[in-house]
């Protein structure tokens, strides 16, 4: 379904290691960096060529719009209004007149051009430091024209990485549960979209209840919970081929699945006789291992990025709290000790933090703590929100939020939201229907 992207990437001019502009993303960025995204220039012949295949009048502007939108939503950059630009795109790409860009207060400038060559889309772009009047980066890609949106995302990732020193997260997708219908009889479908909400597709028809899809960090596989034939079981879905299979042969409900960081195992809960324990299944040899053995509810397991530890949710102390153990189930330690209940721990891809949902005095919070439980920080408070999922660079969390109904039971909604790790830049991610249980993919290209 999703074509493997073939991207030829080469560096036009080697990147110099000079200290040019830098964006510090470890602090809440209240002053986003002003930058100008000059529309990619395009010659008339190429423009017509793309218009014919892609039905887009000017593919150069379209790609630039994607870049601009990505950089803006990151909260770290402030793309300036194109109407203020003094220099034409084609000339800017050859040699920007830095005084002109300086005048409109741009500190960085992105220029480029797009060509239609041998039925392929070829893009080159450059990133300029306006104050230093220097080129920071120049890259070119060639790909099939249908990949034009991804080209925009890849440019965004490269610019983000060059300016912040960390990998981007724009060339990624989000799998989630689409919701429709009354609250008492919700119809739920698996859906997938690009990180910016484009290319939304439904993966199931809504005949059975589906919950908690999660990406394999190493491939295009997804694991999720389905009530197919009224038997809640963990399934595996290949989103390229559409094939599905049930995971393991358990005589009861399996739920709360996630992949190990290498993508070779699924970790999940199995509920029986009022107890829920954590199990793993190796996807190659199908060997099932029991990891926890306790009369309590043990669920929502998540591996550390090195695979050596597992964080999970248990009520063995009497209430829902967060625990960390070794990957064989030994050395169980409780790490959440604040007021309230704690659930849905998810280990950051950077390894240093665990994101969680906290319930305290009738409010729900999304927060982060260090892996020993210290340094708890609550990022956002609301009537109901849960299920944080990390962007692949560990800088942004996506989660879902539900609204309170009125006295007639009306007004319910479920939406996806994202927030920066710093607690700034909270924003809703638009979806065609109500949405919940988001999971962020790894970068599709590196």
């Amino acid at each position: 379904m999703i074509k493997k992207i073939l991207i030829l990437l080469f560096i036009l001019i080697p990147i110099k290691a000079n200290a040019l502009i830098e964006v510090d993303i470890t602090r809440g960025n209240l002053n986003p960096l002003p930058l100008a995204v000059s529309p990619l220039s395009i010659d008339e012949e190429s423009r017509k060529g793309f218009e014919k295949i892609l039905k887009k009048e000017n593919i150069g502007s379209e790609i630039s719009n994607i870049v601009e939108n990505n950089l803006r939503t990151s909260g770290l950059f402030n793309p300036l209004d194109k109407k203020a630009f003094l220099q034409a795109p084609d000339i800017a790409n050859l040699k920007p007149r830095f005084e002109d860009w300086n005048l409109i207060k741009a500190q960085a400038l992105i220029t480029g051009k797009v060509n239609y060559i041998d039925d392929k889309l070829r893009v080159e772009f450059r990133l300029w430091d306006v104050l230093a009047a220097k080129e920071m980066m120049a890259l070119a890609f060639t790909t099939v024209p249908n990949n034009w949106r991804r080209v925009g995302h890849i440019i965004s990732d490269k610019v983000y990485e060059r300016l912040t020193g960390e990998k981007g997260y724009f060339d990624t997708r989000i799998i989630y549960v689409s919701e429709e219908g009354p609250k008492t009889q919700r119809i739920k479908k698996l859906a997938i979209m690009d990180q910016d909400g484009a290319n939304n597709k439904f993966l199931t028809l809504g005949n059975e209840l589906v919950l908690t899809p999660r990406f394999n960090p190493a491939s295009q596989m997804v694991t999720y919970l389905s009530y197919f034939k009224n038997m809640p079981r963990v399934y595996l879905l290949d989103i390229e081929t559409g094939t599905q299979e049930v995971v393991g042969d358990f005589p009861g409900m399996t739920f709360a699945p996630r992949f190990s960081p290498d993508g070779k195992k699924i970790i999940m809960s199995f509920a029986k006789d009022g107890k829920s324990d954590i199990y793993t299944m190796d996807l190659e040899n199908r060997i099932v291992e029991k990891i926890t053995n306790h009369p309590s509810i043990d669920t929502s397991p998540s591996y550390s990025p090195d695979g050596k530890y597992i964080t999970f949710n248990s009520d063995r102390s009497g209430y829902q709290q967060i625990y960390v153990m070794k990957n064989d189930g030994s050395d169980v330690k409780r790490i959440s000790f604040g007021n309230g209940l704690y659930g849905t721990p998810v280990w950051s891809p950077r390894g240093d933090l665990i994101a969680f949902t906290k319930l305290h005095k009738g409010k729900f919070y999304i927060g982060v703590m260090r892996t020993d439980g210290s340094g708890e920080r609550l990022l956002t408070e609301n009537y109901y929100q849960e299920a944080p999922s990390w962007s692949p660079n560990g800088r942004v969390l996506i989660f879902y939020r539900e609204t309170k109904t009125n006295s007639k039971g009306e007004g319910f909604s479920a939406k996806l939201w994202s927030i920066d790790l710093t607690g700034y830049n909270e924003r809703q991610i638009k979806t065609p229907t109500d949405a919940s249980d988001p999971s962020w993919s790894s970068l599709l290209s590196n």
Binding site: R186, T212, A271, G274, S276, N313, D315, L359, K404, G409
Partner: protein
């Protein structure tokens, strides 16, 4: 000194007022859902259906709990008696939670609640072969309200005929 005393008295009066007004609001809430909740367990009959005459189909739970109340045990004894009289009927026990908990934990909690009901039916002579447990977590509320009464109706285990 006198000023101090006056101040103290005013404070006392003020505190008394505050306590009274707090009481008044609390009472209002209590009357609103009077007769429908005990502690935070639903005791009303709004949503209850009947498997047979005098055999209610569901039992209710306190927040985060899976302990059966006296009323729940009575309901389950009636269900057990009905099941003994109808040996060909099998049942599914559907466990549910309210919306004030994380999804995955609630799936486990629903399973635990349905199992509490199952264990009780078994002690009254119903074979485990006749009982299937199915948790819906918070996915299938009966009341879509966002208030304590609605939540109390949703924290339930429902016995459903399987055949």
């Amino acid at each position: 000194m006198r000023l101090n005393k006056i101040l103290k008295n005013t404070l006392l009066v003020l505190t008394a007022c505050l306590v009274l007004s707090a009481c008044a609001t609390k009472k209002e809430v209590a009357t609103d859902i009077q007769g429908q909740m005990q502690g935070d367990v639903y005791t009303g009959t709004d949503t209850v259906e009947y498997l047979a005459d005098g055999v209610p189909d569901r039992v209710f739970f306190a927040t985060n709990e899976s302990i059966l109340t006296t009323a729940s045990r009575e309901t389950l004894r009636a269900q057990a008696a009905w099941l003994r009289k109808n040996p060909n009927i099998n049942v599914v026990l559907e466990g549910h939670a309210d919306e004030r908990g994380t999804r995955e934990y609630n799936l486990a909690l629903g399973e635990r609640r349905a199992n509490a009901a199952k264990d009780y039916l078994m002690t009254y002579g119903i074979s485990s072969d006749r009982i299937t447990v199915l948790s819906y977590g918070k996915e299938r509320p009966v009341d879509s309200g966002s208030n304590p009464l609605a939540w109390s109706k949703n924290r339930r285990s429902v016995t459903v005929k399987a055949n």
